[in-house]
């Protein structure tokens, strides 16, 4: 290893933000010429900061950078380019309406010859095996092609040190393989590469050496041959971590959410969901796989009532237990009210009949008492009458000085019948005007009919008693209010519950404290703005709140995106816990390894369509990868 030349050497790099945060602390990093180096670390370990220092976005507070063993000062991205350093960022910076070539030459100085440029782009593509058309517009390109344009752009400018920041996050397994092949081609050509990724198997697959950062410090480097997933994780976290996701078998799965023929368009009229059908069962984790932008977001938002649905149904089957109590209470109250009304009407009717009879037949002064007795006893005797076939009622009438004729007995019977029919009709009618949750239970008890969520907004869904939680992809832009503390964010779910004009912060405060403790959220107080928390803690607040709603269906979108291994496993465990409580968990994920390990079944989306539903225990990455890119390809795999 003595005659290895360094493409980059970073010496004692320290970068502070403010006075408290040390993002990089005396980091030493070497990148040999012609190697692929993986930079590994948890969230907040300073990987991106370090690379931004190298690219001239940040200036280090201390330390020195050497490029090809020459000390240099990089104070702007242009400086970095001049030294042959190019970074491919996670978020592409391309102009949609330009072609690939136009994007590549954009920002270059000097005389512009498009013909020559196009030729040069072609040459680069051929040399490394890129598969793009220089004249294709960006908006017509797939994510992977856009990424390719970014790489070509960097190569075009003559970079020989390339930094790729999580390039595989948006790719399918097949595209990832292709990217790795290209990376190897570049390596053969003498380029030096740094790849940042969270996926350990990729690290092992593509890199020569792994450098590990932890909490801003440089921990060390290992040759890839002598590393495995476990050892890398341990180095990254600093202690032994179990890398297994516990996946118990589903207990008594029942359909909870049945989606049929769901079709939705965005505001520009582009079809985002195309005839999507699947079922989410209670007690299981249903994975949703797909290349980014295949309709995952739209699907979950449509279920949550946040995205307009054109066609199809979303049927929610309520677990009866959750509502039976509230409903029976309401029913009892209604029944009592109705029976009082019935009784009243009934009494008036009989008063009329009896009084008429008594006056007609017996005109003595004792009739008053007889009347009253009749009025009081008739309802009871009428019940008795059902069992004794009217015999005793007649006798009783007589004993009170009232001789009811056969006709009048018939009136009595008819009256009871009529009134009970009328009251039933009223009852039925009344139920239809009851809150949906009661109707729903009523219908469900009668015919097990579910609630259709299509056309409902989040508030009416909640009012309908549909217990559904949603952890959206955009945590701070949709799930949480960044400027509020944990308490304020708990309120987001419960602010409507309290009566009166004012919000009550007591209950949310208690909930916030509970989540703070149970999920070990790192925050100074429950009123500290969640925007200032780290990504993992933000997600803990959001997931914690959604789970605390005790939902029947829990939907999560990219629940572990950007989270480090430790927090990710916390989230996986929480989801599995929910599943074991009999809840239907929907997990939209991007890491196929995790999907395969965590979920029971996986729905694969491709271009807004369901291209297959597979059993996660029997399928593999290849199969899902194929489904992810192939419309309706494996639709027969319905599990």
């Amino acid at each position: 290893m003595e005659n290895v030349k360094n493409a980059v050497r970073m010496e004692n790099i320290t970068k502070r933000f403010g006075t408290k945060v040390v993002a990089n602390k005396a980091v030493n990093l070497e990148l040999h010429e012609g190697e692929i180096l993986s930079l590994l670390g948890e969230n907040g370990s300073g990987k991106t900061t370090l690379m931004n220092v190298l690219c001239g976005i940040y200036h280090p507070d201390e330390g020195q950078i050497y490029i090809h063993d020459e000390p240099v000062t990089i104070s702007s991205p242009k400086d970095a380019f001049d030294h042959g350093i190019g970074m491919i960022h996670q978020h592409f910076k391309l102009v949609d309406v330009f072609t690939a070539t136009e994007n590549i030459v954009l920002g270059l100085k000097g005389h512009l010859d498009m013909k020559e440029a196009r030729q040069k782009v072609r040459e680069i593509c051929e040399k490394y095996g890129f598969d793009i058309d220089p004249d294709q517009k960006i908006y017509n390109m797939s994510v992977s092609q856009k990424q390719t344009v970014e790489i070509v752009k960097v190569l075009y400018r003559g970079a020989d040190i390339l930094i790729l920041d999580e390039p595989t996050a948006v790719l399918t397994p097949q595209e990832t393989d292709k990217l790795f092949q290209i990376m190897r081609n570049m390596q053969k050509d003498g380029k030096s590469l740094i790849i940042i990724t969270h996926k350990l198997h990729e690290v092992l697959e593509v890199s020569d050496r792994v450098a590990i950062l932890r909490k801003g410090e440089y921990i060390g480097d290992v040759p890839t041959q002598s590393a495995d997933q476990q050892s890398l994780t341990d180095m990254m976290v600093g202690r032994r971590v179990s890398l297994n996701i516990n996946r118990p078998d589903p207990v008594d799965p029942k359909p909870r959410l049945v989606i049929e023929h769901l079709t939705a368009y965005d505001e520009l009229g582009v079809k985002r969901l195309d005839d999507v059908s699947f079922t989410a069962n209670s007690g299981e984790v249903l994975g949703i796989a797909g290349v980014a932008g295949s309709g995952q977001r739209e699907l979950l938002e449509a279920v949550a009532g946040l995205y307009p649905v054109k066609e199809g149904t979303i049927q929610f089957y309520d677990p009866k237990v959750d509502y039976s109590d509230a409903i029976s209470k309401r029913n009892i109250a209604k029944s009592i009210l109705l029976s009082i009304i019935t009784l009243g009407v009934y009494l008036i009717y009989w008063e009329y009949l009896l009084v008429k009879n008594i006056r007609a037949i017996k005109k003595d002064e004792s009739s008053c008492i007889g009347e009253m007795l009749c009025l009081i006893f008739v309802p009871f005797y009428s019940v008795y009458w059902w069992f004794t076939r009217g015999k005793t009622v007649k006798e009783e009438f007589a004993s009170h000085g009232c001789t009811a004729t056969g006709n009048e007995i018939a009136y009595l019977v008819l009256g009871i019948f009529g009134l009970s029919i009328v009251s039933m009709a009223i009852m039925q009618n009344d139920f239809n005007s009851l809150p949906p949750e009661v109707i729903q239970s009523n219908q469900q008890n009668a015919s097990n009919k579910p609630v259709n969520l299509v056309g409902m907004d989040p508030m009416s869904i909640r009012k309908a008693g549909v217990a559904m939680s949603f952890v959206p992809e955009d945590r701070l832009g949709m799930g949480l209010v960044g400027t509020m503390g944990m308490t304020g964010n708990m309120l987001l779910r419960s602010w409507r519950k309290t009566k009166g004009l004012f919000v009550s912060r007591k209950e949310p405060e208690a909930m916030a404290k509970r989540i703070w403790q149970e999920l070990e959220v790192v925050t100074p107080s429950t009123n500290y703005p969640v925007r200032r928390l780290s990504g993992g803690n933000v997600q803990k607040v959001l997931v914690g709140r959604e789970i605390a709603q005790e939902p029947a269906v829990l939907m999560t979108a990219y629940a572990v995106r950007g989270l480090d291994i430790n927090t990710s496993y916390t989230i996986y465990n929480l989801l599995t816990e929910q599943k074991m409580k009999g809840r239907a968990v929907i997990y939209v994920g991007e890491d196929l390894d995790v999907l395969l390990e965590l979920c029971d079944r996986i729905v694969v989306l491709c271009g807004g369509q369901v291209s297959g539903v597979v059993d996660a225990r029997t399928t593999d990455k290849r199969e899902i990868g194929v489904l992810m890119t192939q419309h309706r390809g494996g639709a027969d795999n319905e599990a």
Binding site: R16, T73, S75, E217, D457, P458, R462, G482, G488, L501
Partner: protein, 383 residues
């Protein structure tokens, strides 16, 4: 080793305790005053101490001046309170000027057309209701268009100002007294019909008390009510709001109606309680100044008392300076401008911190205690 390190670093602050941020603002005001003094000295050759004492004399010199300051403060604070809910919702309502003016117009209309026809108490009630309604309509329109068709509320509210102004100009001509003067004069000068009564023999006491009450109510409304919570969520992110089941459109319209109605109330107080006349410039641009008051106080009604006091004192004091020393009126504007510049500029220092390049050796020595990272045995368990 060559050093091309930048001279200054600018980085965002983590957070700042409120005492410290107010201290920074305090320093900014002091600096502004010093700077004003220097400018005054250079331009006018006057003694700055004398100028400043004149400034304070202008605002607090006599009991009458104090009352005027109180009244000006009340009106400005009231308008600021009116726009605050909208601003908290990130609805950039810069139409307070028009909303107040239309309130003034409605009040004046009632006073002129119904004066002496109904009893005084009823007239006051009617003009109050009319002012509230007029302001509410002026607030409702832009909100409705925003909620329905996503129109730009800034332009919309701005344009509504001109409509209000033109309407006022038209009616002033319709009602002008005496004919040809182009003004309406003092409305109901003889009968004082529709004038708000004086309490305790003090002309401005009622308005000041009303606004004090309004401040407290607005603080509670924004801080503790469900509506206030909805407003903050909608202001933060509309997507979060609809995720939480808040009907965003309804909140926008409701809040703007409230905002406009309070502006209308201010219009009523101006005409019925204070000026008893109607001109197109009755609001004196306070609808715009209010934006500054509200913003400087970070939309907190209690802080707004101080920011509006500052602006009012500056304005009155500067006018006093220009009249005492025989300076042009614009000189007052220059001083106010300088002070505002410093206050707004101080915001930069509360959000960002600035560090200068330090000598190399010193830096390393100072860096040591800044390392909160616990040393948890590295790479021991790994080969």
């Amino acid at each position: 080793m060559k050093h091309k390190e930048p001279l200054i670093y600018i980085s965002k602050r983590e957070s700042l305790p409120w005492q410290k941020s107010w201290m920074i603002r305090g320093i900014a005001i002091m600096l502004a005053l010093v700077f004003c003094g220097v400018i005054t000295m250079l331009l006018t050759k006057l003694n700055p101490i004398e100028v400043f004492s004149t400034l304070f004399y202008g605002a607090f010199g006599t009991p009458r001046k104090c009352w005027v300051t109180g009244q000006k403060l009340a009106i400005l604070l009231g308008i600021s309170l009116a726009i605050t809910p909208a601003f908290k919702m990130r609805f950039w309502n810069i139409g307070a000027e028009g909303q107040v003016l239309i309130g003034c117009l409605a009040c004046a209309a009632c006073m002129i057309t119904l004066g002496n026809k109904v009893s005084n108490g009823l007239l006051i009630l009617i003009s109050l209701a009319a002012s509230l309604a007029a302001g509410a309509i002026w607030g409702f329109l832009p909100a409705f268009f925003k909620a329905r068709w996503e129109t730009n509320e800034t332009l919309f509210t701005l344009m509504m100002n001109y409509i209000a102004m033109q309407l006022a100009a038209y009616f002033i001509i319709v009602w002008e007294v005496p004919k040809g003067s182009g003004t309406v004069g003092v409305i109901n000068d003889q009968t004082e019909a529709g004038w708000l009564p004086m309490i305790g023999g003090k002309r401005y006491l009622l308005i000041i008390l009303l606004i004090a009450l309004l401040t407290v109510v607005m603080y509670i409304y924004l801080q503790y009510s469900k509506h206030g919570y909805e407003i903050s969520v909608v202001g933060e992110s509309r997507r979060t709001a609809s995720y939480a089941g808040i009907k965003v459109d309804r909140v926008i319209i409701r809040t703007m109606v409230l905002s406009g109605a309070i502006c209308g109330l201010m219009g009523f107080l101006l005409v019925s309680g204070n000026d008893h006349t109607l001109t197109t410039t009755l609001v004196e641009g306070r609808g715009f100044t209010a934006v500054m008051v509200s913003w400087l106080a970070k939309f907190n009604p209690i802080f707004m008392v101080f920011t509006s006091l500052l602006l009012v004192v500056m304005k009155l004091g500067a006018t006093e300076i220009s009249s005492t020393f025989g300076l042009n009126d614009s000189f007052a504007d220059i001083l106010t401008g300088i002070i505002l510049f410093f206050i707004i500029g101080s915001d930069f220092f509360t959000t960002y911190q600035i560090r200068f390049r330090r000598p190399h050796d010193k830096r390393t020595a100072k860096a040591e205690p800044l390392q909160p990272i616990p040393q948890s045995e590295p790479q021991k368990e790994v080969q």
